[in-house]
Symmetry: C2
Subunit: 185 residues, 2 copies
């Protein structure tokens, strides 16, 4: 990856603060482009996938779950962390099945984006899934979700009400709206 | 905030691992709905704003910057952290001016979303800014950015190339596309 000299921050030292199951936290000292130094707090994460699964009737398969960092429930796309060495597409297929029971004929990659590049390296891969067939969910033992089906209008109303309010699901809502305005499902 | 019993995770204990300038890390032990316990790694963040600033000619004002967690440059919306007690709109006005030099006649709230609710409580407030007037940027002393102006097509090409690849900017691109499909700027 190219570095533009007047933007680049060179690492002087790096201190690992914590290594957990989900995140690793480190604090780097960096040399700024102006010759001064600064600290950067950095959260490492293995990356994740999310699935925008649309039924043949044009409904979104979403999950309501309690999110401990927020101390509240929100409604989100089915999603999950990449296992070590796992391909994003394989993870998307797995997480959709585990959380909702659905399998899909077709997965299309829509976007991959960093969720919060100021302090974290989590990269999230977003897929569209269509041609859905319902089966049995197989949740992880520490995972509890309710599956809900939403029209675009219902999802947009939950967005206005603040029950849909996470980045990946908001990306999906706007992408879904654009698709529909283009005459797609 | 209501809690659905079969989804709720009650805190048993909470341990603070690190308190930095940008993030705080804690590990909570929780009681799961099935009576078992689990650990939750939680990153606290004060929240942030991002601004989708569109010129009268329909161009997006974006910034190219080096992101230490990614060890690379990406092109993003102007954005920044909330100061303690700061209103999101005041922060949006301040960050747009500081990073790009632009002031705007009109700010419209588009969405507020959690960037990564699985492990972090960062809430990002996204505003549309129009009626732009160019002035002088006033960057923080540890902040280095290049300002760029992009048409929607140019921004979508950067998204395909992976130079635009953070959640807030991807939200803005799809929202911008929907606006244009609705006949707006």
């Amino acid at each position: 990856m190219k570095h533009t000299e007047h933007l680049y921050e060179k690492t002087i030292s790096s201190q690992t603060i914590y290594e957990g199951k989900v995140v690793k936290l480190k604090v780097d000292e960096v040399l700024l482009p102006n010759g001064k130094t600064a600290k950067r707090e950095i959260v490492n994460h293995q990356g994740a996938v999310a699935v925008m699964a649309l039924t043949d009737e044009g409904k979104l398969i979403a999950v309501r779950q309690f999110r401990k960092p927020l101390e509240r429930e929100i409604v989100e796309l089915p999603a999950g962390k990449l296992e070590p060495g796992e391909e994003p597409l394989a993870c998307a297929i797995r997480e959709l099945k585990e959380e909702t029971g659905y399998e899909a004929e077709s997965f299309t990659h829509l976007s991959s984006f960093y969720t919060s590049p100021g302090f974290a390296d989590e990269l999230l891969h977003l897929y569209l899934a269509t041609g859905l067939r319902k089966g049995e969910a197989q949740l992880d033992e520490d995972e509890f979700v309710d599956v809900v089906e939403l029209t675009l209008e219902e999802a947009q109303e939950l967005h206005r009400l603040g029950e849909i309010r996470d980045a990946k699901t908001v990306v999906a809502l706007y992408a879904w709206e654009s698709r529909k305005l283009h005459g797609q499902k």
